[in-house]
């Protein structure tokens, strides 16, 4: 089965070599796993009393993990909506024919893309909201998290909007102008709708970034999943298991979202639509490349926490 263009179908010697390499890989991976398990065992982290509450005690989920997930989703949902609005406004602003507006939007977008999200959150919380009276003590942490996530991800989405509009064929705007639409009408009714459809996979990918970044709320005392699992860890004296379960929840949610994003992307490209933020020409170096884990969904900066 030589589905890859990188190598031939293996002959007998290659098959032996591959089997040996596979064995080495397995041994190394299992070795790391065994080492982790032994260390956890030595530190008494594998005791049934530490892990059982996740299955037997409803309070673990009802009072800790579900509120944590809700906190994470609340911050992420508000942020994605606000970031979308911010992104469309500034993305269109960067395409404006007014030079001053174009420059202003460009500087704002580049600035917020260059500054770490955590820095914005810390300043928004400790510098502004916790001191001021505008937000109550309960909502100030949420406001700080949403501020940081919106400014950063809004800037990323602004870049997506811009590249989405750029990626459209020139004939689209020319056709609009030639039937007598104004520039803003062309933008609103021809370019933006197509650009937003093309952005959909990248936008879902951005939601993964927002979900992960919401964990930064830990530092500004926002009660999201990470913070709740810390509380859970102290309440049940099972800190390490609590963090590991939280990590697993994050992995599952984000993995599902990435798979969804790659589905949407494939669907769009099957229908012959342009896709923004896709991974360029896919030459299919390995057979699983286009099917696993939303590959090719490269948002402009998906690398953030």
């Amino acid at each position: 089965m030589s589905a890859s263009v990188l190598f031939d179908a293996p002959g007998p010697r290659a098959r032996r070599r591959h089997a040996a390499l596979a064995a080495v890989g397995l041994v190394v991976a299992l070795g790391i796993l065994v080492l982790v398990v032994l260390k956890m065992k030595a530190a008494n982290q594998l005791g049934a009393d530490l892990w059982k509450p996740f299955v037997t005690d409803r309070a673990v989920w009802r009072d800790y993990l579900v509120p944590g997930l809700l906190g994470t989703f609340k911050a992420a949902a508000i942020s994605i909506v606000l970031a979308g609005v911010f992104g469309v406004l500034f993305g269109v602003g960067r395409l404006s024919s007014v030079t001053a507006l174009r420059w202003f939007c460009g500087v704002v977008v580049e600035f917020f893309r260059a500054v770490p999200v955590l820095l914005m959150m810390i300043f928004a919380y400790f510098g502004l909201y916790a001191r001021g009276t505008f937000f109550s003590a309960e909502t100030a942490p949420l406001a700080a998290v949403v501020t940081g996530l919106t400014l950063y991800n809004g800037s990323v989405i602004a870049e997506l909007v811009r590249s989405g509009v750029f990626s459209l064929p020139k004939g689209q705007s020319e056709a609009g102008l030639s039937v007598g639409l104004t520039r803003s009408q062309v933008m609103r009714s021809i370019q933006l709708p197509q650009a937003l459809t093309a952005m959909l996979p990248a936008l879902i990918g951005q939601f993964v970034v927002i979900l992960k970044d919401s964990a930064l709320g830990y530092q500004v005392t926002y009660l999201e999943l990470l913070n709740w699992s810390k509380t859970l860890g102290s309440a049940f004296a099972n800190t390490v298991p609590a963090y590991l379960v939280a990590a697993l929840l994050f992995i599952v949610i984000n993995y599902v979202l990435t798979v969804l994003a790659s589905r949407v992307q494939r669907r769009l490209s099957r229908r012959g639509r342009a896709v923004v933020g896709g991974g360029g020409p896919v030459t299919g170096t390995t057979p699983e490349q286009s099917t696993l884990g939303g590959d090719g969904i490269v948002t402009t900066d998906a690398t953030n926490t």
Binding site: S4, V5, L6, F7, A14, H18, L21, A22, G25, L26, A29, K39, A42, A43, F111, A114, V115, P116, L118, L119, I122, F123, F126, G127, L128, V208, K212, D213, A215, L216, Y218, Q219, L226, G233, T239, V240, Y243, A247, F250, I251, I253, N254, T258, G279, G280, P281, T283, G284, T285, T286, Q289, L292, G293, G296, V298, T300, D301, T303, N304, T305
Partner: protein
């Protein structure tokens, strides 16, 4: 503004940020290259291991890994990397940064491999090169040049992500900014000092990588 620069070691904090970024990037590059080679290798088991690595570490919040490394691994499991609290936090931060960003380095390298046309690999095979030979002599040289731009974004993200080390108490730029705000004032000038520091660190790098990727792009 002058007060803050005078009474707090802002430059020292950014020096720590740079050190975290340098060693984190070094580790991420080495680890990421290994994972990337595993993901395109002919051995199915290695491909699976590489894919699992990427899917696990790409989807976990960096904050969670940082907190786990100190509150979980250092204190509860008793595995400090240094007896000094601050040093231990810094070393674990470097390890966590490297492990986390290796997944993204792997994806950047793989997207570089994707820029190499299939005909190149087919031509290499048809003249009788083995997988190793065609990788070393044909695919990887082109792939590295094609992955400069995505590797640049990973490096810039890594520099910004060093701030997350502040959650485990390192006195890097973000940690120091929080200290200044809590002790002194919440004025915009404090934020401006630290924000501009990051703009200075990341903006030239972005320009450099963009021009490098243009200059070194394989003409096709």
């Amino acid at each position: 503004m002058g007060d803050i620069l005078g009474s707090y070691d802002v430059l020292g904090a950014f020096w720590l940020t740079i050190r975290l970024a340098f060693f984190g990037a070094l580790g991420a590059l080495v680890l990421g290259t290994v994972v990337a080679v595993m993901r395109v290798s002919p051995v199915a088991v290695l491909r699976l291991l590489g894919t699992s690595y990427v899917n696990i570490f790409r989807n976990v919040p960096l904050t969670l890994m940082m907190v786990l490394s100190v509150l979980g691994i250092t204190y509860i499991m008793g595995l400090p990397l240094s007896q000094d609290v601050q040093q231990n936090a810094i070393r674990w931060a470097i390890v966590v940064l490297a492990v986390y960003h290796a997944a993204f380095v792997c994806e950047a390298l793989r997207s570089g491999v994707n820029t190499v046309p299939a005909g190149q690999a087919e031509a290499a095979r048809s003249v009788g090169l083995t997988f190793g030979q065609s990788m070393v002599n044909v695919i990887l040289p082109q792939a590295f040049r094609g992955s400069i731009a995505p590797l640049g974004s990973v490096l810039i993200a890594l520099i910004k992500n060093t701030t997350v080390a502040a959650v485990i108490g390192t006195s890097d730029a973000a940690g120091l900014m929080q200290e200044v705000i809590e002790n002194e004032t919440g004025s915009f000038s404090v934020f401006a000092i630290f924000a501009i520091g990051f703009v200075i660190l990341t903006l030239p790098l972005g320009l450099l990588f963009t021009s490098l990727s243009r200059r070194l792009a394989v003409k096709r």
